[in-house]
């Protein structure tokens, strides 16, 4: 049974991702059979040359693709004397409507000298409204256990300028979890920016392998104060409260850990 679910979900996701890829090519008029929208200059110049130039000028007025890479958080967290490296980055390639997104985040323990968590997502992102993109694709957890998940989410800008990234994940084992990240920016000056950030994780069933109980599993609430030396490059410091809840907290506490704590963070936000 479990094997069937795995095959089904992976197969469907792979198909979805593959079929999304051609959609990245933005619509343009070159090569299609529709009649030229205007062609009066063909009476003076070679129509083939005009057709090529027409496709060019149209493509270069709204049809271009772009790429973008951003390390939103690249930081060291210090909690109870233990230091952890955290990264949270994303990049995309595509046009106004369709993009291929890659997202990665993870944690590195300096004490244990090991990567404790690392995930990478490949998503097809489609603009469905002025401020929202629908995103679907695959997530692969390099650490701790090499599990694959299907991803279905939204990313965008909510009213009052809250940046939202919310997604549901279906693991190859059929477990359903969800994650919501919300960020806001308060400009103290044009370059000194205070960013409250909230991340909540949910599980829709117990996942013993991941020490997760059903319900809200954990919540991170932090503020980061960054200084944009350039818009593209900003060091920051901050503080973040991290807590586990419900059965998840019980599991941590049973193992002798703290379910809650406050970390100091310092890092770099950068984009290209």
């Amino acid at each position: 049974m479990r094997q069937t679910v795995r095959t089904l979900s992976l197969g469907a996701l792979l198909a979805a991702t593959l079929s999304a890829t051609p959609a990245l090519a933005q619509h343009s008029h070159d090569g299609d059979d529709s009649p030229a929208p205007w062609s009066q200059a063909d009476a003076y110049y070679d129509p083939a040359e005009m057709a090529e130039a027409r496709a060019q000028v149209q493509h270069h007025a709204g049809g271009q693709n772009f790429w973008f890479v951003m390390a939103d958080r690249f930081e060291i967290q210090s909690l109870d004397g233990e230091e952890t490296g955290v990264w949270d980055a994303q990049g995309w390639y595509g046009g106004d409507i369709n993009k291929l997104f890659v997202k990665t985040e993870g944690e590195y323990s300096f004490e244990g000298d090991e990567v404790e968590d690392a995930e990478i997502q490949a998503l097809w992102s489609r603009a469905i409204s002025p401020y929202w993109d629908l995103q679907t694709g695959l997530r692969y957890d390099v650490e701790p256990d090499g599990k694959a998940h299907g991803v279905f989410g939204v990313q965008g800008l909510a009213p009052y300028l809250f940046e939202v990234d919310a997604a549901a994940f279906v693991s190859e084992d059929g477990d359903v979890t969800a994650r919501t990240e919300v960020e806001y920016e308060l400009l103290l000056t044009q370059r000194l920016i205070l960013q409250p950030r909230l991340e909540a994780n949910f599980s829709f069933q117990d996942v013993p392998d991941r020490e997760l109980g059903t319900g809200l599993t954990n919540l991170d609430a932090g503020v980061r104060l960054r200084y944009e030396i350039k818009r593209e490059f900003a060091p920051y410091v901050g503080v973040e409260w991290q807590g586990a809840f419900g059965e998840t907290a019980d599991i941590i506490e049973a193992a002798g850990g703290d379910a809650q704590g406050t970390a100091f963070v310092a890092g770099i936000r950068a984009w290209f």
Binding site: W38, A41, A53, G62, F66, D96, P159
Partner: protein, 635 residues
């Protein structure tokens, strides 16, 4: 199928200033380097070479892409009605083009790749040949990619065939532009990915606290929440700002101090051209009034002002008469007040006027959103003309415009964040940030063509075009359709008179330009409507222009903010040949008018004697005389 391309021999006289960093065309030199005014140099054959070359801006070196090795490009000056030949050689490794902005050329000479010709390939020489039925101040620039941002622009002066109605002793060209040491494709990429990168004028927490102190916490919070709720910024004024731009006059930054000379009491004509990629400017000369005599190359009834806003691609000719033996600061301030450039007008070469301080950054209001029912208390001056719908006072000759109105259907989707719910006429406003200045400002509602309009027919039909955007995604379009998605152009029929009503659904000012035809701005001017090639449509504004579709061809229609065009805010207007469907044009006019009508009504035989100049104080100057035109040129 005759190809007009010609491969000329290498006998071109194109090498005037190649590779030399310090050379500039004579007209753009400061007085401290011998420029004491323009000469009457005219010609009918020009050899232009498009190349990349080093330039020095404000003491720093960069690479430009332009014409004959200079930024700005050489002045092209010729006589109205004369046929001229321009050989444009492309030495780049990419295509180029030259568009003659505002010139009524045959469309296959208009220079827009993919619309009117294929473009000029690397190594090729393209020959432009045309005669135009107009005179005045115009300009030229590349219509390929983002070359314009790199310095590919220059001035055009067309000498009148007959007497010049503007009397002056000395003249200068003031080419305003914006220069960046960043690659324009990098700028565009930043806009597409982080659209507010260059904005350093956002409202901050301290601003909020100040507001709360003044208006009360509740009101301040309400206003902030209102903008936040719309996911918009009241400081979204310019996309590309002084954070990367160096603003230039004739290729000179303020530090380079472009300076011009006058003898006190002289009438000095300044031909002001906004050749920027993205920057709308406020132009003023503190202590020196300016009399506007030309707008977009065509004469207007003289109008004395102290300041005016000039959109990208617009031109204004003004007369100034400095009486004092002192240095005056000709100041062009970016609309978002992120920077400015100052040149000096002084009695002696090399003088440097004191630079006025940058003024406070303006803030958009609910009126710019066109959503507010209470906007009438936003400023007293808006009440008079604000609610007056464009064209209400225009003689419609009994036509029911609504019945004929071809109302645009805006394609809603990710590219359109909002529509203007209550757009209104803003012709009687001087432009963002000039509402409260303590001196006289220019409003579109005040402009009157000097010559009576030749085509005074009421429009046969109206088309509505929406200016649409999503600032967050940096998508710009007409009617929600980017140029890359356009499948059919806007159709005009030869000879018809069309009203185009533009509704600005965005929060930004857009200088909208139509190639090949002038806009008759419906501003209550009767048969003296100002005729412009470019009009600024303000945020939340509904503005109408009447167009006589005379020149058959495909013509570009676009926002002249370069990156807006590049993001999709462009269309094509196809004027289709008369198939007999249309009445012959000028049916309202005596037959003798027909010949000149076919030349766009720009018959520049001025009927000065018949004008009542009394109502427009010209300070006793003889408008008709050009005899005292004293040229101090060094040519």
């Amino acid at each position: 199928m005759v190809s007009r391309r010609q491969f000329l021999s290498t006998s071109l006289q194109a090498g005037l200033a190649l590779g030399a960093t310090s050379l500039l065309p004579a007209w753009s030199l400061p007085a401290s380097r011998g420029n004491t005014g323009l000469s009457t140099l005219t010609g009918n054959r020009f050899d232009l070479k498009v190349d990349r070359f080093p330039v020095t801006i404000g003491g720093r070196s960069g690479m430009a892409l332009g014409v004959n090795g200079t930024v700005p490009a050489p002045l092209i000056r010729f006589r109205e009605g004369e046929e001229i030949t321009l050989n444009v050689t492309n030495t780049l490794d990419e295509d180029t083009s030259i568009h003659w902005h505002g010139l009524l050329v045959p469309f296959q000479m208009d220079g827009v790749p993919g619309v009117t010709f294929p473009g000029i390939r690397p190594g090729e020489t393209f020959q432009y040949k045309f005669a135009v039925p107009q005179n005045g101040t115009y300009w030229y620039h590349s219509h390929s990619g983002l070359q314009e941002q790199l310095g590919h622009y220059g001035p055009i002066i067309i000498e009148p065939k007959g007497a010049d109605p503007v009397g002056y002793d000395r003249e200068y060209i003031m080419v305003l532009s914006d220069w960046s040491f960043e690659d324009p494709y990098r700028i565009f990429k930043k806009l597409k990915t982080m659209s507010e990168t260059y904005n350093f004028s956002h409202r901050t927490v301290p601003d909020f606290i100040e507001d709360a102190g003044e208006k009360g916490f509740g009101t301040a919070l309400e206003q902030r929440a209102m903008w936040g709720g719309m996911r918009m910024s009241p400081r979204d004024i310019a996309d590309v700002t002084g954070a990367t731009y160096h603003f230039l006059i004739n290729g000179h930054s303020t530090a380079d101090n472009w300076n011009a000379v006058f003898n006190p009491g002289e009438r000095v004509r300044l031909r002001i051209i906004n050749a920027s990629a993205m920057s709308i400017f406020n132009v003023r000369i503190p202590g020196l009034p300016m009399t506007v005599v030309q707008a977009d190359g065509l004469h207007v009834r003289p109008l004395e002002v102290d300041e005016f806003q000039i959109g990208v691609a617009e031109t204004y000719d003004v007369i100034v008469q400095p009486k004092d033996e002192k240095a005056y600061a000709f100041t062009a301030e970016s609309i978002d007040r992120s920077g400015q450039v100052v040149a000096t007008l002084g009695p002696r070469p090399g003088m440097k006027a004191k630079e006025p301080a940058l003024r406070a950054v303006p803030t958009l209001t609910m009126k710019d959103m066109a959503m507010d029912h209470g906007s009438m208390d936003m400023g007293g001056d808006t009440a008079s003309g604000g609610m007056k719908m464009a064209g209400m006072d225009h003689d419609m000759k009994g036509h029911d415009m609504d019945a004929m109105s071809d109302s645009a259907e805006v394609k809603r989707g990710p590219g359109v964040t909002k529509l203007a719910a209550m757009p209104m006429s803003r012709l009687d406003e001087p432009g963002l940030g000039l509402e409260d200045v303590p001196h006289r400002t220019l409003r579109y509602s005040q402009l009157r063509s000097l010559e009576p309009n030749k085509d005074t027919r009421a429009p046969e039909r109206e088309i509505e075009v929406h200016l649409t955007s999503n600032m967050e995604r940096y998508m710009w379009s007409f009617d929600g359709v980017k140029f890359s998605e356009v499948t059919e152009p806007i159709i005009f029929h030869e000879g018809e008179r069309v009203r185009m009503t533009m509704v600005n659904d965005t929060m930004m000012n857009h200088p909208i330009h139509l190639h090949g035809m002038f806009f008759d701005l419906v501003n209550g001017g009767g048969n003296h409507m100002p005729r412009k090639h470019t009009v600024i449509v303000k945020p939340g504004e509904k503005l109408s222009v009447d167009i006589t579709a005379e020149h058959v061809g495909d013509w570009a229609f676009h926002c002249h903010l370069l990156y807006h065009m590049h993001a999709g805010m462009m269309q094509v207007v196809s004027v289709l040949p008369n198939d007999g469907r249309n009445k012959p044009m000028s049916h309202d006019h005596p037959p003798s008018h027909k010949a000149s009508m076919q030349m766009d009504g720009q018959d520049m035989k001025h009927e000065m004697s018949s004008h009542d100049m009394g109502a427009h104080d010209m300070e006793g100057h003889d408008m008709g005389s050009h005899g005292d035109h004293k040229m101090g040129g060094q040519h």
